[in-house]
């Protein structure tokens, strides 16, 4: 019987190297040496550092194409589209410095097919991204399910899944980012999300195949005043990249990654185990975690709140208040929020992302001031705090 790490193309050497990596990024020469070792050991198609190559060359090539197309879209099409939009609002007599609502924006978007073409092509590319990945995992379902089944029962980290999926609330069942099946509906949701978001990061902030972005942000997370970090929770953990990065930063801490998606936490657990990282993953909604009162020294989330209803955000903040110990740190990362209107240009991008990239809850998220919601509870906002990630707010709170 094949060992799961052999199936993944992860050799013992590769795993050992990954465990010893700590929070520092690897040099290119170390990554190249690892990749060569992994390729020599056989397996599927090997790995480049901690990035397992997609299972077939053509799947990898299509992914390479959609990644490139995303960059073209961002660097070229978007600028053209925004310029066209500026001309359109001028023609329609809209003041570009005024703030407009969603409905006012909606009245404009169908008026220029050139603007539509930019968004259409972006979404067509998004569709190919997902379909290419989904087809591959489903065509090889037995193989990939076997990997997860073997991982479910192994460590070093633990995995807790809901016995029944019927209790999941509807708000977690949407196909966010038009990912087919969303986070709960496809058995390979974690696989799809991981490789799909690698393209997203590349098109917006740079490479993240080695979890570079998550590790960099984890490195900037502030400590409680007493310096004690024994237990950490990362809710809405997705595929566990931030939880694993926090474990690297705080190797002695008990780290938990929590997500509502069963396939998401299964994938996270499998990946963490293959890398030899002892993080615990649990399937749960964030508004009702079942952890004891005051259990955590640090609670984080990585761009999760704009994917939940405003009311659920409030419930989650209350839950975090309950499970964070006095003096503990709460630092959720997400977009800067507050306000249902924006400049025409600002509303332009926000609307399309909400409506057609299926960011179902993003407008609700923007309708509240997330930072102010936290401040309403027993948290004290730290003055002059540093941003852990540019553009995602400075929400450094201490539990009172």
């Amino acid at each position: 019987m094949l060992d799961r790490r052999e199936l993944l193309g992860l050799s013992t050497v590769g795993v050992a190297a990954a465990v010893g990596m700590g929070s520092m990024l690897k040099s290119k020469s170390v990554l190249a040496a690892e990749a060569a070792q992994l390729a020599a050991d056989g397996g599927l198609r090997g790995a480049d550092g901690r990035h397992v190559r997609l299972g077939e060359l053509d799947v990898e090539s299509r992914q390479d194409y959609t990644k490139g197309y995303r960059v073209l879209n961002r660097r070229s099409y978007r600028q053209v589209s925004e310029d066209m939009f500026e001309r359109l609002i001028q023609r329609e007599g809209v003041d570009p410095t005024s703030k407009i609502s969603i409905d006012e924006l909606r009245a404009l978007v169908d008026l220029d097919p050139n603007i539509g073409l930019m968004h259409k092509s972006w979404l067509a590319n998004q569709r190919v991204t997902w379909k290419n990945l989904q087809d591959h995992y489903h065509q090889n379902a037995d193989f990939y399910l076997s990997q997860m089944e073997a991982a479910d029962k192994s460590g070093p980290g633990s995995l807790e899944l809901l016995a029944s999926q019927s209790a999941l609330p509807d708000h977690v069942k949407h196909e966010i980012h038009i990912q087919p099946g969303g986070y709960v509906g496809d058995p390979f949701a974690g696989h799809l999300y991981h490789y799909g978001t690698n393209s997203f990061w590349f098109g917006t902030r740079g490479h993240n195949e080695q979890d570079e972005i998550h590790r960099e942000v984890a490195h900037r997370m502030p400590l409680p005043k007493d310096g004690k970090v024994r237990r950490i929770l990362d809710y809405g953990t997705g595929v566990g990249q931030f939880a694993m990065a926090l474990k690297a930063r705080f190797p002695d801490a008990e780290v938990w990654g929590l997500d509502a998606g069963g396939p998401m936490v299964r994938y996270s657990h499998m990946r963490a185990n293959n890398l030899g990282i002892p993080v615990n993953f649990i399937q749960s909604v964030a508004e009702q975690t079942q952890f004891p009162d005051g259990y955590f020294d640090m609670v984080t989330s990585f761009i999760a709140h704009h994917e939940m209803p405003a009311q659920v955000t409030r419930q989650v903040v209350a839950e975090v208040e309950r499970i964070t110990r006095p003096g503990g740190v709460y630092y959720p990362l997400d977009f800067i929020s507050g306000g249902t209107t924006s400049t025409p240009r600002g509303m332009f991008g926000r609307w399309y992302d909400h409506r057609w990239n299926n960011e179902v809850w993003s407008m609700e998220y923007h309708s509240i001031d997330f930072t102010a919601e936290i401040a309403k509870r027993d948290f004290r906002q730290v003055k002059d705090a540093q941003a852990a990630m540019r553009g995602f707010g400075i929400r450094h709170f201490e539990r009172v």
């Binding site: 090539s61 299509r62 490139g68 197309y69 097919p113 073409l117 399910l145 509807d170 949407h174 196909e175």
Partner: protein, 112 residues
Amino acid sequence: MKEIPEGRETYTAEPIKSDIDEAMFLGNPVLDNVVNCLVALGSEVWACKRRTKVLEAVLAKKGISQEEIERYQPSAAEVEAWEEDRDRFLALAMGPLGFQSHVPASARFSRK
């Protein structure tokens, strides 16, 4: 898309589907579908070009000439397998011509 083998626990729940395949951005659903096709087709063309680059590099290292490649006669099994892949290619690249796009880009976001 292949069905998941029966009897396997997948820990999934029924998702709430997006309506992206019914979206119409260009005032004419035919145009929308053509864009879908073009983008998908581009991904296949690039996959072929990239595979060719890999093949050429590997073959050159093994001493295989271009002439040998030109003369190659596929077996019946190869022909069958290649046709199956051609059909998958067509479904991805040309399948979107069959989408029924009718929801305008400005449609209210009512699904919750």
